[in-house]
Symmetry: C2
């Protein structure tokens, strides 16, 4: 398996912020591609009433100049979103289903069964022409139910593949993953999966390292750690892309990403959202920048 | 080797802050001991003109109620400091020598040779009655010379043991350690060493994890991540004690530390220094606190 870093800043990151202009979002996506990222979760085709920051997905995708070899992903919650995403000519669909029944119901107001049905509908829209990545949220625990058993997560993963998902990503939505919990899940579901890690408890990078050592080669990350609570309320967002790139650089793993350029994108993202982002590498620079 | 977490918040942490009253410092030390920490770097016997925050070391040690089985460490830079520390009845001496010649000269205004001589003098004062931990600062790189060769670090370590140090700690003063650099050093000096890690680049915890996996069982940590720049300028301080305790708890490693009580000490430390501390676990709480 070759390494895939999927940049989720333009979608999962900006979703948590006050709305940013379509033009700025396009500029952010282009800058990320210019820094070397080959997979970008660029937009979400969701209700603009429910998620105002994600309004204008069609406009963003129309304005993005497509770079060769780059896959532009869209989050889609349902058939209607998938149809819009296909019409906007995205390169992949991601769809989130929670391993926590309570979380699923509180956040998307439908049951897990209904979410699995949605994946089935989305797969029919994609009709084999697009990859469908099923993101299992709360895979390492729920704010409502606490621990989620590995068997429960695996069972849901199996159902999502049966429903038409072509790959799986396990999301530590609540920042409850730790290295032994990562290993326990991988022992059950294998390592040909993606991980979407958070820094809620400062464990995003150590979890990524443990997963890397175990053989995982797909990670969702967000430039600057964009996403989750703003900086003032703590570094609780996504694992920062530059933190993982820095670690992989140090491990001698080719990432295709130019860290210096990526750190410039951090500054761009900070200017866009109007507050500092919680990334230590972005502040301190890499170990030897000279 | 059994696990030793040496809490350096009262010394290395508070050193970087505006002076805190002797009584408050005693209270912090007592709270850390009550949370289960058995090794505390409590004071530094240094010039109060050079380091105003560390004034009153004798008074702190006189006021601390000694708990059985707890070792109270003092940082000493020279023979005079060692004499004062012995008079104050500390349980161990730590002495810092930089692997970076430029850093040593800029920070303590003497050469590495003179620092090694100081260790020799300190050892004569201790006269075998107290452990002397030599802390090699800039062990993973210097802001002046960049990389420091492992052979240079090992050679200095050897000289420090010859001069009378009874143990070694390698400090990532500049936050330039990464897992492969940790492993490279350990391959050279062995794993019966301490590590003193920083979060300057967000790699403190992943470095500790890599070191733990390699067999290291001694770590310097600081409650709340106290030390280094204040929070507003970024999470650049010491590896937070509660981050490592949380990780070790999750790994099933007995630490003797009660994480919930330790998090209360974080709040106490924050109140003492008057600003938030950069610890994600302190903000978010452990994974399952219920």
């Amino acid at each position: 398996m070759s390494l895939v870093l999927r940049e989720v800043g333009p979608r999962d990151g900006l979703q948590a912020e006050s709305p940013v202009d379509v033009g700025e979002r396009v500029r952010l996506i282009a800058a990320l591609v210019a820094a070397g990222l080959s997979d970008i979760e660029a937009v979400a085709f969701v209700s603009p009433r429910a998620v105002p920051s994600m309004a204008g997905a069609t406009e963003v995708m129309a304005a993005v100049e497509r770079a060769p070899g780059v896959r532009y992903w869209a989050l889609v919650p349902n058939v209607r979103g998938a149809e819009m995403a296909v019409a906007a000519e995205v390169d992949g669909l991601s769809v989130t289903v929670s391993a926590s029944a309570a979380y699923n119901e509180k956040n998307v107001h439908i049951s897990i069964d209904e979410s699995v049905d949605a994946v089935d509908g989305i797969a029919k829209v994609a009709d084999g022409a697009l990859p469908i990545d099923a993101v299992v949220s709360c895979a390492f625990g729920s704010p409502y139910e606490g621990d989620i058993a590995v068997a429960t997560v695996r069972s849901l993963a199996r159902r999502l593949l049966d429903a038409g998902a072509t790959s799986l990503t396990f999301a530590d939505t609540t920042g409850m993953a730790t290295p032994p919990r990562i290993t326990a899940l991988l022992d059950s579901v294998g390592t040909d999966v993606g991980l979407h890690l958070h820094e809620t408890r400062g464990t995003g990078l150590v979890n990524a390292f443990a997963a890397w050592e175990a053989g995982v080669r797909r990670f969702d990350t967000s430039v600057g750690g964009l996403g989750g609570s703003p900086f003032a309320e703590g570094a609780a967002g996504n694992l920062a892309t530059e933190q993982l790139v820095y670690l992989l650089d140090e491990l001698g793993v080719p990432t295709g990403v130019d860290l210096a350029r990526l750190l410039e994108v951090c500054r761009l993202a900070e200017a866009m959202v109007g507050h500092p982002l919680p990334s230590a590498v972005a502040r301190a620079g890499p170990r030897l920048s000279g």
